[in-house]
Structure formats: structure tokens, C-alpha cells
């Protein structure tokens, strides 16, 4: 294998690693962070009353959103375990 072949093959592999890394490596933390944001109970300030009344709410919709985000993250971990065990069979090494 010549040097230019090695470099072009490596560049292609690098591109794939980077693409998957960006999609999952940034996507999953973002998903998890969104879950934490949804889950966090919102402080609603009622500016109309004097003194301003605050109440802590977490709407059911937000909680569902958080649940979906965390569930997807758990699925990703399960997928990771599958890749660890069967990766070579699935992708041919």
C-alpha cells in the first residue's frame, strides 16, 4: 500500500469517526441536558401581584419531555452494550 493510499484511507476513516462522533457525541449529551432542563421545576413569577408571588411548577408536558430524553439516553447505552458484544459481527470489525 502506498503512502497516498494510506493517507486517503485514513482520511476517509477519520471523516466517518468525526461524523459519528459529532452526531452521537454531541447529540446524546444535548439530549441528556435537555432532559435535565425539562425535569427542572420552573419558577414562575407572577409580576401582577405585589409582592411578586413565585410558585414552583412542573407541567406534565415537561415531565414527559424529560422522560423521553432520558429513555432515549438509556436506549443509547443499551445500543452501546450491543456494539461492545456483537460489534465485530454487526460491522465486520
Amino acid at each position: 500500500m502506498s503512502l497516498s493510499e494510506i493517507l486517503s484511507e485514513s482520511a476517509e476513516a477519520l471523516w466517518h469517526v468525526l461524523a459519528v462522533g459529532l452526531v452521537l457525541g454531541v447529540g446524546l449529551p444535548a439530549l441528556f441536558a435537555s432532559g435535565i432542563r425539562f425535569q427542572h421545576r420552573h419558577r414562575v413569577v407572577d409580576a401582577g401581584s405585589r409582592p411578586a408571588a413565585t410558585s414552583i411548577t412542573s407541567s406534565p408536558l415537561r415531565l414527559v419531555g424529560a422522560g423521553v430524553c432520558f429513555a432515549l439516553c438509556v436506549l443509547a447505552v443499551v445500543a452501546g452494550i450491543i456494539v461492545i458484544i456483537f460489534g465485530e459481527k454487526l460491522f465486520g470489525g
Binding site: 476513516a13 459519528v20 462522533g21 457525541g25 454531541v26 435535565i36 432542563r37 427542572h40 461492545i84
Partner: protein, 421 residues
């Protein structure tokens, strides 16, 4: 006992020793961030990682006979030993390569620098192959594609992904107060750190299993190229798990405290980026070193957070260590091979083994003089690996770590008092 059997036994013991150093050298890759953010107590973290490494090692279903085949010409394409090297010659090359790998692992551990165990092993094998077979014994293309290019690519890709992820995550949770935010991220951290540990057990124990199986084939007591003796699998699994449980506290401290001051969100992004890249890269045509990826990710998680402290001097020392990993291990591998062959046969291997034992004991004793343990692994980083004062923090939480240590800071004071006996 025949000469070859005696050498085989020493090769197996040395391989398990390498597996053990591989375990404790790499505990930090998975657990450094969880330990430094307080997501897990140090002892619990290494115990979890050890169990997952053990499980991971048993999960491996591949036969990694071809690991050495990428860089040295001692085997045929199917992984079987080259016929002319059967018996002692190949056992000596493998033995010398393992010694090179172990000594490099111990040296970098002593100075607290993470470095790739697989690069160290490959380096040792390359040196031994040059000494045994001449310069033609090395596959230089393989060195380029399996060692040099991945070594350059891994930290950059991982660093970039982790930096971007950290930046995005901090944007998303900007409105969430720090303490409720961090509690959530610690769970995420433990999840991705566990995946890294599991993958490490599978990948790295597999390499030692491959090496021992290769030695058994060379000796003539095993012939199946597609299976590994069960006792080899057990021995390697236990060895890497025991190493992991010992905890390479020096390396953990550098990764968790020295490189970047890590908060829980950063720990989660760094670990997730590492897990994703480690799990995907080998299936995408470029197997990257766990150590290089994990270190790059931790560094990236510091770069991606505007206010974070990143110690570039520490990163520079690591980069230097990586650059000289291959040549250093190769020199030791070559010297060991020359020594073993110079004295000749079983006596040569025994003498080299004695030298390895002496050197390892010496480095262990040296490490005791300035010990880094589970007690002081999280002490504030004041410029050096070994904490200058008695440790105060068994679990410095990210909240404490990320606060400026201003005079009269009540948090810092309470953290100190809280752990007084």
C-alpha cells in the same frame, strides 16, 4: 521441564503482568471524571470499573490473534506463527515486547501520565522484532496506520467533539441552578463511564488473550486459530480487573484534577464523547486508543467551557509522553530481546524476567515515597502530581472545585472541616 515450556510459562506470567498494568493504567480513562466531580467515591469508582472490566473481558467473543500482526512480521495472514519462528524465537519476541510494554506503563504511571497501553505493547513488539529479525521484521505501513495516524487523530477528534458537546450542554442547562443540574449529570457520567469500562475490558483483555494464545500456538500446545482456551480468558479477565481495582491513582489524579477543573456537566460530555468514539472508531476503520480518546475528551470539555481552567503545560507533557511511547517501548523491547538471546535460551529469558521484576519493584517502592491514594487523589492541584499538604478532600464536589478559592469562601472552609476525622 523443557526449555520451551519454561519460557512459555514466563511469557504467560509476563503477559498477565502486562494485563494487570493495563488495568490500573487505564482506570482513569473511565473513572477520573466521576472521581473528581464526586459522582462516585474513589473506592466505589474503581470497584465498579473493575467489575465491568471483568464482565467485559468475558463478553469478548473475538480472537485477537492479529493484534501483533499489524506491525510485526512474526505471523501469517491468518494469525498463525510463521513456521520458521515456531517455538523459542517467537516466544522470545513476544516476551521482550511484553517487557517493553510493562516497563513503559510503569514509568508513565510513576510520573502520573496517561499513555496508551496498546501503543506500549506494539512498541515493545516492534523493538523486539527488529532485534530478532532485523529492520524487515517490522511492517512500517502498519506502524503508520495502526499507531501513528490514530495517535495523532484521536485526541484532536475527541477533543473537538467533547468541546462542542460541552458548549452545547452549558447553553441548554444555563437556566438550571447548579446543584439540581449537577445531581442529574452525575448519573449521566456514571452511565457513560460504565460503558467505557465495559468496552475497555472487552478490547484490552482481548489483546492479552491473543498474545497468550499466540504463545501457546508457538509452543505447540494449542492449534485452534479461532478460539481461546477458557483458562486464558479467565486469567486475563481476573488480571485486568485486579489491576483496575488497584486503581492507578497517579494517572487518575492527573486526568481528573491536573488537566482540567472538571464540573459534572463537563464530566458527562467528556465521558459520553469518549464512549461514542471508542465504541464506533474500530468499526469505522480506525481503531483509536482508549487513553488518547479519553484524554482528548477531558481536555475538550475544558476548552468548551469558557470559564474553565485548562492546564496546557500538563497537556504538553502528555503529548510528549505519547510521542515517545512507541520508540521508548521499542528500545526496551529490543534490549530485552538482545539480552535474552545474548545469554541464550531459558537462562536468557529468566535473566530478563528477573531484571523486569527488579525494575518493577524499584518503581513500586519509589511510588510509595510520594504516594497518591484514594485518600488524596482529589486534593487541589497545586502544580504537581503529589499533593503538597495532607489531603483534605476525599470527595471534592464539582461545586467546590469550580468555585474560586477566594479568601473567606465558606464553601471551601466547610469542605475542609467536613472531612476532618
Amino acid at each position: 521441564m523443557t526449555e520451551a515450556l519454561f519460557v512459555l510459562i514466563l511469557v504467560i506470567v509476563t503477559a498477565l503482568g502486562f494485563d494487570f498494568t493495563n488495568g490500573f493504567h487505564d482506570t482513569g480513562n473511565a473513572m477520573a471524571t466521576s472521581i473528581s466531580t464526586g459522582a462516585l467515591k474513589p473506592r466505589k469508582a474503581v470497584a465498579l470499573s473493575a467489575v465491568l472490566n471483568l464482565v467485559g473481558a468475558f463478553l469478548s467473543i473475538e480472537v485477537a490473534l492479529t493484534v501483533s500482526n499489524k506491525v510485526v512480521s512474526i505471523q501469517g495472514a491468518d494469525g498463525a506463527p510463521a513456521p520458521e519462528l515456531m517455538g523459542l524465537p517467537i516466544l522470545i519476541v513476544v516476551f521482550a515486547g511484553l517487557v517493553g510494554g510493562i516497563l513503559w506503563n510503569l514509568t508513565t504511571w510513576l510520573v502520573g501520565l496517561p499513555s496508551s497501553s496498546s501503543h506500549a505493547l506494539l512498541g515493545g513488539l516492534i523493538g523486539a522484532a527488529v532485534a530478532q529479525l532485523g529492520i524487515g521484521g517490522v511492517k512500517w505501513n502498519g506502524v503508520l496506520t495502526a499507531v501513528i495516524i490514530p495517535g495523532l487523530v484521536a485526541p484532536v477528534v475527541a477533543g473537538f467533539v467533547a468541546a462542542l458537546a460541552t458548549w452545547v450542554v452549558f447553553k441548554i442547562v444555563a437556566a438550571v441552578p447548579e446543584n439540581s443540574r449537577d445531581a442529574g449529570f452525575r448519573w449521566g457520567q456514571i452511565g457513560s463511564a460504565s460503558l467505557i469500562s465495559l468496552a475497555h475490558g472487552t478490547n484490552d483483555a482481548q489483546k492479552t488473550m491473543g498474545v497468550i494464545t499466540l504463545a501457546l500456538i508457538a509452543y505447540g500446545s494449542w492449534t485452534d486459530l479461532h478460539a481461546i482456551p477458557f483458562w486464558v480468558k479467565c486469567a486475563c479477565a481476573v488480571s485486568i480487573a485486579a489491576g483496575t481495582y488497584l486503581g492507578g491513582w497517579r494517572v487518575i489524579r492527573t486526568l481528573g484534577k491536573g488537566l482540567v477543573e472538571i464540573s459534572s456537566p463537563q464530566g458527562m460530555t467528556a465521558d459520553t464523547a469518549s464512549a461514542v468514539i471508542i465504541l464506533s472508531s474500530s468499526h469505522l476503520g480506525m481503531a483509536l486508543s482508549t487513553t488518547h480518546v479519553a484524554t482528548g475528551s477531558i481536555l475538550g470539555s475544558g476548552v468548551g467551557r469558557p470559564a474553565a481552567v485548562v492546564r496546557w503545560a500538563v497537556a504538553g507533557r502528555m503529548a510528549l509522553a505519547w510521542a515517545i511511547t512507541l520508540p521508548s517501548a521499542a528500545v526496551v523491547g529490543a534490549l530485552c530481546c538482545l539480552l535474552a538471546n545474548g545469554i541464550g535460551g531459558a537462562w536468557g529469558v529468566a535473566a530478563t524476567f528477573a531484571m523486569l521484576t527488579l525494575a518493577a519493584t524499584g518503581m513500586y517502592l519509589r511510588s510509595r515515597r510520594t504516594a497518591v491514594t484514594s485518600e488524596n487523589v482529589n486534593a487541589d492541584w497545586d502544580g504537581g502530581l503529589v499533593p503538597a499538604v495532607r489531603p483534605h478532600a476525599r470527595r471534592t464536589s464539582s461545586r467546590h472545585a469550580s468555585l474560586p478559592r477566594a479568601v473567606g469562601n465558606p464553601q471551601a472552609g466547610s469542605a475542609q472541616q467536613a472531612t476532618q476525622p
